[in-house]
Each structure stands twice: as C-alpha cells, then as structure tokens.
C-alpha cells in the first residue's frame, strides 16, 4: 500500500498533494429489548485525496474503489484549478513525519468471535432489564473497529497508523402509565476487547435511574447556582467553549477574531482549560492528526485568560500561529477540519471536594450525567441525565428534565469554584461538526460550580 501511495503522490501535478487511505474492519452486536437486533461484521475501505495549487482552491476527491486512486489524484488537481483565488491559501510549515504508529490493540477485536461479543452485551442488556418490570425497552450496543490508515503528503510525511476502538452503550426506557423516562450509559475507548468487561453494575444503574426518574418531579425552571458533575462539566467545556476555540470559526472573520482575541479574560483565575490529543490512552488520542501533524497538549485558557486555539495547517498559517494537530476527519469520506481531541477543565489547585462546593449553596441544582449538548456559537444548551436539588448545603431530592442554557461569556465568568476530583469521561458516540459525526473525543473535568445559570423547565 505504501508503494501505491508513493507512486500516486509522485504522479500528481499539483503543488501540494495529500492522500489518505483507510481500511476499517468493524463488528457490531445490538440488542433492543430482549431481542437481538443485529450481529454483523463489516469491511469498509476507501481513499481521500486533497490537492492545492498556487492561486487556486482545494480540490478534493473521495472514493471507495482504490483502483481509482491515480485517476482521483488527477480529478482533484482539475477541481483545484477550477477554483481561482486572489488571496492564496497557505499551509503552515510542519516538520515532515515518517512513522509507523500502531496503538495498543489491548486484545485484538478481530480475533474474538461474534458469539462472544453477543454474550457480553447480552449480559449488560440483561442487567438493565432485570431492574424492574417498568423497564419496558432497552438498547444495548457493542461496537468495535480496527482501522488501518495510510497517509502521505508531498511535504515528505508518510505515516501508517493502526487505530482501535471499542464502545459499549446502553439505553433503558422506563414507563409507567403516560410517563416515560430514559437512562443512558456509554463507554467508548481507544482500546480493545480486554477493556470492556466487568461493567454489569454500571448498566444495572442505568435501568434503575430510568425507573427512579418516573417518580421524580421536573425541575422548576429558573436561574440557580448549579454544580456540574465531572461528566457534565466535561460536556459543558466541550460545547460551551471548545467549539469557539476551533480556529476555523475565527480565521476568516475579523469580528470573530476580535471576540476571541488572545489575552481576553474569559473567566476567573480558577479556570484552566486545554485540549490534549497526545494524552495517554484516551479515545480522542492519536499520535498524528489527519494532516500528519503530531498531536500535543494545547492550553486554551490559563488562569482565566484566553491563551490559545486549535488549528489545522491552513488556519494556523492564516493567523500566524502554529499548527496544533487538530485537523481531523471521521473517515476517508471527509476532509480534515479543525476538531477537538481530549478537552479538559484542569482540577482546582485547592483540592476542594464536592461537599466544599455545595456547603454554602442555599438553593441550587446538582446536575449530573449528560444526554447531550449543543452550541450555537455564543449560546449553548446541555441536557443533564438527571439532577438533584441542593437545599441548605445538602444534596436533596432527585429531579428530572434538567436542561442548562446559557451564554458562553457570562457562564464561563460565573465559574467560581473548581474541585480537585478530576476524571476523564470516556463516552461512546462523539462530536458532530460540518456533517462529520461521530468523531471520537474525550472530555475531562472535576466538579465545577457555576454561580448562576438558567435551568429550563416549567415556570
């Protein structure tokens, strides 16, 4: 394969050419209720070519037939030449990388039978169903893949990467009369078969939570002090801030650049945020991004001040900054765009605990777990899986439908207390942007307190 790519690269007439070829082996076993939905093994493969010519735009071709590779290099060149630009696209300089980077497969999933995978996820599904007759429906998914990725570019980079992934997830639906509630668990790892055992209790809790929510009141809408648990704090920083730190949002827009000027104060001095694609063993971790740039730990907010952003080679050149290894594509079907990897809120230096964060809250909400989150630039929404009221410094009754809505600038500035209990939350699913979903990412955070934030719901 390396030789085929080298030959195609050599034949390209474009000023800059990159080629990525992927071969992905995957299997999936899905249960819905007590019934097996599917058990499948799939093989997917294809290629992606992107070229740039001086005074021209990007020419892109993606394809499933690898025999078409030489022809596709030619087509990408023609497409690039059809796009005339007065202000040329420049790519930041990087050191060419030559490497063979195989991540630890941790029990190669390709060697495990579908029957064994079925047995594993059937047990987790059973753990959710066994909680109560009120659990009327479940979905339990086991999914794995091993992806071989070859990447070459005309700057001299030539990489081979082996990327494993394994995900187990469960949804429990509980129903009583007209009330329907949901519990969710999802574990996604850039590892293999050995890492997804012994999770029965976590799946049982999913079923139990769905049942408990049936009797929980909806949270009363309004503004509260809110403590986010580790998982939700991670989703929060990804959604509320991470997307704005992606340089493709600002690099072509002077007003956006003004809004995201480095050195601007974004929060109180307790707040430290970064994105680390090189962190060991996480789902968003890769040695190189999809432009062949090595990944790194990029500080984004330091002591409350904006100090960095995430780049591709194009956005870095446009802003006169350095590439950060954040150009990622979900597959050969897509071009790399600026994306997060493992995004985190650093633990507070005081080593505070959850109890310290809530002890002086008279009436507030402890928001836990995440059903999801979405940003619309400076506004965001994230949905907790469940919550508790905080009354007189104590965690009180369970509440549901906790949806937090806010404005980025106001909310970041209202983070006034950060605990020391940092954890990475390795969830399945992933991040969506520009039609590319799901991209494997990880989020990490300790417990975080927001002085005041809007909680949606009945008023």
């Amino acid at each position: 394969m390396k030789d085929r790519l080298a030959a195609a690269l050599k034949a390209s007439r474009a000023d800059y050419t990159e080629i990525r070829v992927e071969r992905t082996w995957s299997s999936a076993v899905t249960f819905r209720g007590r019934r097996l939905e599917t058990a499948t093994v799939s093989e997917d493969q294809g290629g992606f070519v992107r070229v740039l010519n001086h005074g021209c735009g990007w020419g892109i071709a993606s394809f499933t037939s690898l025999d078409a590779l030489p022809a596709m290099v030619g087509r990408a060149h023609e497409l690039s030449r059809a796009v005339r630009l007065e202000r040329p696209i420049r790519l930041a300089e990087t050191t060419p990388q030559v490497a063979d980077a195989a991540l630890d497969l941790d029990g190669d999933v390709r060697g495990i039978s579908l029957a064994e995978k079925k047995q594993l996820i059937e047990a987790y599904n059973g753990a959710m169903l066994s909680v109560s007759d009120a659990v009327v429906d479940t979905q339990a998914i086991y999914r794995d893949e091993v992806s071989e990725v070859w990447y070459v570019n005309s700057d001299g980079t030539a990489l081979t990467q082996l990327r494993p992934e394994v995900t187990v997830s469960g949804t429990a639906i509980a129903r009583r009369n007209g009330t329907i509630e949901k519990g969710l668990e999802s574990i996604g790892l850039r590892r293999g078969w050995r890492s997804v055992h012994g999770l029965d209790e976590r799946f049982r809790v999913v079923g139990q939570r769905a049942v408990e929510l049936l009797d929980a009141p909806r949270v009363q809408g309004g503004a509260y002090p809110v403590i986010l648990d580790n998982e939700l704090a991670g989703v929060f920083i990804h959604e509320a801030f991470g997307h704005l730190s992606e340089a493709d949002f600002v690099y072509e827009n002077p007003q956006a650049r003004a809004m995201m000027t480095l050195g601007r104060r974004f929060g109180k001095p307790v707040l430290n945020v970064g994105d680390n694609g090189a962190a060991k063993g996480l789902r968003g971790t890769l040695p190189f991004d999809d432009e062949g740039t090595p990944t790194q730990d990029t500080p984004l907010i330091k002591d409350g001040m904006l100090v960095g952003r995430l780049h591709s080679r194009e956005t870095a050149a446009a802003l006169g900054e350095r590439p950060t290894g954040n150009a990622r594509a979900i597959s050969f079907r897509h071009a790399p765009i600026v994306r997060m990897t493992n995004t985190y809120i650093a633990p507070g230096r005081t080593g505070a605990t959850l109890a310290d964060l809530i002890k002086d809250v008279k009436l507030g909400v402890y928001a836990c777990g995440a059903f999801g989150g979405q940003t619309m630039l400076e506004n965001f929404s994230f949905t907790a899986a469940w919550g508790h009221m905080i009354r007189d410094g104590q965690i009180a009754e369970l509440v549901k439908d906790v949806v937090l809505a806010g404005n980025l600038f106001q909310t970041l500035d209202r983070i006034d207390h950060i605990a020391g209990d940092f954890t990475w939350n390795q969830m399945g699913g992933g991040c969506g942007k520009g039609g590319q979903f799901p991209l494997p990412v990880t989020e990490g955070a300790p417990h975080v307190r927001i002085e005041e934030i809007l909680v949606g719901g009945d008023v």
Partner: protein, 443 residues
C-alpha cells in the same frame, strides 16, 4: 451485481434480498464569500440479507469487486446469532411512477454549481457579515432484488444548496441559515425565496429585545418545528410501537391531537426530495396517512418490524451498505388537513401570518439541543437559538437568553393555527404552526 449475489445465496440460504447503490457527489463551497473548495465523492457498495434456519443475517461491503461467496458466508454467520423471524420477501409487483431523475441536475457542469453559489454570495453580502454558501449535486443509482423474484431500481438526482449569514457584533453572534433541497436544480424563484427567507429573518434580528415570560403563544416556523415533530416521528415509527415505548401505541383511531393536525408520509410527493418508486426492500412506495385530523391512523413499518407486529410493511425500509434495513421516513408532510404541497418557493413570511392577534409571544426559528432530551416522552425544553418577540401583533426584535418548554402531547391539543408559509425543509414539508400555552423562561 444483484443477480450474482442472489444466485450465490440461492443454494446456501432459504431466502435473500440485496441492495446495490452507487453515488457520485460534486460539491463546491464558498467560505466567507470566497470560493475555496471543489470536491467529488464516488461511493459504491452492496448489502445482502439472508434468511437461514428461520433467522436473519446481514453483511455489506464497499469493496470494488466484492467476493459474493464470502459476503454470503458473512451474512450466514450473522444469521446464526439472529432471532427467529418469519420474514417473507415481497413478490414482484408493479411500481408507481414518480420522477426521481432530472437531466438538468445530472448534467450540470461544475461551473453551474459555482454560478449558483456565487449568485447567492453576491445577493447575501452585507457589511460586517460573513456569508458561507455550499452547493452539492448527487447522482445515484439504486438496484434492489430478492429471492421471491422482485427486482427494482431507479436513478435519482439530488441537489442541496445551503447558505448562512453570520454577524458578530462585540459578543453577540447571529447566525441565519437556510437551504434548498430538491431533485432538480433550484429555479430562480427557489433561489430568490432562499435569499428573502434569510433577509426576512436578518432584518428584525438586528434589534435585541428582552424575552417575555410565562405560558405564551409561540409560533414555530417550519425550521423551528423540528423540536415538535421529532417526538412524533419516533412515536409513529412501528419500531417504537413494537418495543412498547411509543406513547401512541394502541391509540389508532383515537383523537389524540387537535382536529386540525394531519401527518402523512408520502414517498410519491411531487417535488419531494425523498421521493422514490420503491423502498430498499422491494416494497412499492405508497402514501401513508399517520395522523388525520388529529386521529392516529397508523405507523410506518419496514419488513422486519411489520412481520413481528403482524402488520404489513408500509414501504419504509431504508438500508445502508453495512447494517440491516431500518425504518426511515421519506417526505414527511405536516399540516392542517389535506395539504397542498406546493412549489419550493412559497413566499417566506416570518410568523406565517399567525401573529396578528398575539399580544405577547414568540416566533421560534431555531432551538438549541433538539434531540438531546427524553424525546420519546414528548417533553421538550430548549434554549432559543433564533427567536423573535411578538408584541401587539408586531415583531419587535430578537430575543436571546430565553428557553421554551412543554410536552408535544399537551401543546398539540391546542393548535392556534397553521401558517400560509408551507415549504420543504429537507424532506419535511410544513407551514409555521402556532401553539398556545408554551412555557417561556428567561434569565
């Protein structure tokens, strides 16, 4: 390919069906008003499903020259773990006529796609605004067949044009988006409607006003309606009915909604972006009435869920290259009674003509976080992405920092009216809908 696969499966299985699909997409993108990218995508693959020993298995590949024997072996291995299922493949039957392939779209040169984009960029350009426009044209071929002798296939074209205007003033970010999706190239009228739709929403958004609070009348635009329609799409799926999680299970024939609400899935709709003569399981397309005048009429099924529910497939099986067929809506038409699904370029009218007698309320065009919550239960609670305040029958400006909440099974019992602005948005057709008593919270 289909015949080769089915003949490989014949001696080794009790029955089989297969899908082959090839797609070629050409796309161009203007970023900040500049044409920056042109691309092509070519993708082809096959998916086969077998029944053996009363169990079902699937396999698929994107390999250029697939080994059909190996694919059948993989599908059989998948079936070994499967559940008992008395799947009967539909016999051959006459297919309805519906236009899916448009020469003008198929033959459009790259320069034409660029010209469409450039025209929009020029018309949307504003001081202090970033304009992003993308145009995409797809030409696809689908072939399906099964061991009962059914064969079908069609060629289809699809065109998508998206435009967004982003305006950032200090820390205020305003983003207004619209799209054209159709089988054919957009007409001048379609493009004009797209521009006016963005302008109509941009102008009043430049003034920011404080949000109201309380249980208020809220007009959901066709785009804003997504949060209300999503729970219904889940509840009207034969799958959730079968699983026992649909709030509409067992309610066929019951008046559940306001008598003005009708929902139809119509794969034969003229101008429907998702129209096709048959589904991916060889079932001929037919219109499916799901809700008529507030009464639940039925659910959508694919072959598997229909078999298990002892019902008939409504022709809503959709399969990708890798998984098994799943239920998928085609053209979902939401409206008041028998609707006239008009041309794409209905005149954009913010509020749909429904605001004249609103003393205080909202127009909601975009909500943040749709699909994240407990969707199947019907509850929704979202901060507004783009919304306008209505006071004494007039739009007074854009509201920020507000959230709307309710339950669709509650709010759809009292529909305040349907707008005169019905349009396609992707493959959903609807007008604006006014719902009364929606909870609005503010910070």
């Amino acid at each position: 390919m289909i015949d080769r696969l089915l003949s490989a499966a014949r001696s080794r299985t009790d029955g089989a069906d297969a899908l082959w699909r090839r797609e070629e997409r050409t796309s161009i993108a203007f970023e900040s008003g500049r044409l920056k990218t042109a691309g092509v995508t070519e993708e082809a693959g096959v998916n086969v499903r077998v029944v053996t020993g009363g169990r079902m298995g699937v396999a698929g590949t994107t390999a250029a020259a697939p080994d059909v024997e190996a694919l059948v072996t993989r599908a059989r291995a998948s079936a070994e773990l499967g559940e008992d299922l008395d799947l009967v493949f539909p016999p051959t039957s006459p297919l309805p006529q519906v236009p899916t392939f448009f020469d003008r779209a198929a033959n459009a040169a790259l320069a034409e796609l660029i010209a469409i984009g450039r025209g929009l960029v020029e018309r949307l350009a504003r001081e202090g605004c970033q304009v992003n426009v993308a145009t995409e044209r797809e030409v696809g071929e689908t072939a399906v067949g099964n061991s009962a002798g059914a064969r079908g296939g069609y060629a289809a074209t699809g065109v998508g044009v998206t435009a967004e205007v982003i305006r950032i003033a200090a820390d205020d970010v305003l983003m207004i988006y619209d799209q054209y999706v159709g089988g054919d190239l957009p007409t001048e009228g379609d493009l004009e409607a797209l521009v006016r739709s963005i302008e109509t929403r941009l102008e009043p958004a430049l003034t920011i006003v404080s949000p109201p609070e309380g249980a208020l009348p809220v007009v959901f635009t066709p785009a804003g309606l997504a949060a209300v329609v999503l729970p219904l799409e889940q509840a009207l799926s034969g799958k959730t009915v079968l699983q026992g999680s649909s709030p509409l299970a067992g309610k066929v024939g019951e008046q559940v909604f306001d008598a003005r609400l009708s929902i139809t899935d119509d794969p034969l709709a003229a101008n429907g972006p998702a129209s096709r003569p048959l589904d991916d399981e060889c079932v001929p397309s037919a219109r499916a009435a799901l809700v008529e005048r507030g009464v639940v009429r039925g659910f959508v099924y694919d072959l598997e869920t229909a078999t298990r529910a002892k019902s008939r497939s409504t022709g809503h099986g959709r399969r990708g290259i890798f998984g098994k067929p799943q239920i998928r809506y085609t053209n979902l038409i939401v409206g008041g009674g028998p609707v006239d699904v008009g041309a794409q370029h209905a005149a954009p009218l913010l509020g749909g003509g429904l605001i004249a007698d609103i003393q205080d309320g909202l127009i909601v065009d975009d909500l943040i976080g749709v699909g994240q919550g407990n969707v199947i239960g019907g509850g929704f609670s979202h901060p507004v992405g783009l919304a306008y305040r209505v006071q004494r029958g007039e739009i007074t400006g854009r509201v920020k920092d507000a959230a709307v909440a309710g339950n669709v099974y509650d709010v759809l019992k009292r529909i305040g009216g349907f707008g005169s602005d019905g349009r396609w948005l992707g493959s959903r057709w609807s007008p604006s809908v006014r719902l009364d008593g929606v909870s609005v919270a503010r910070r």
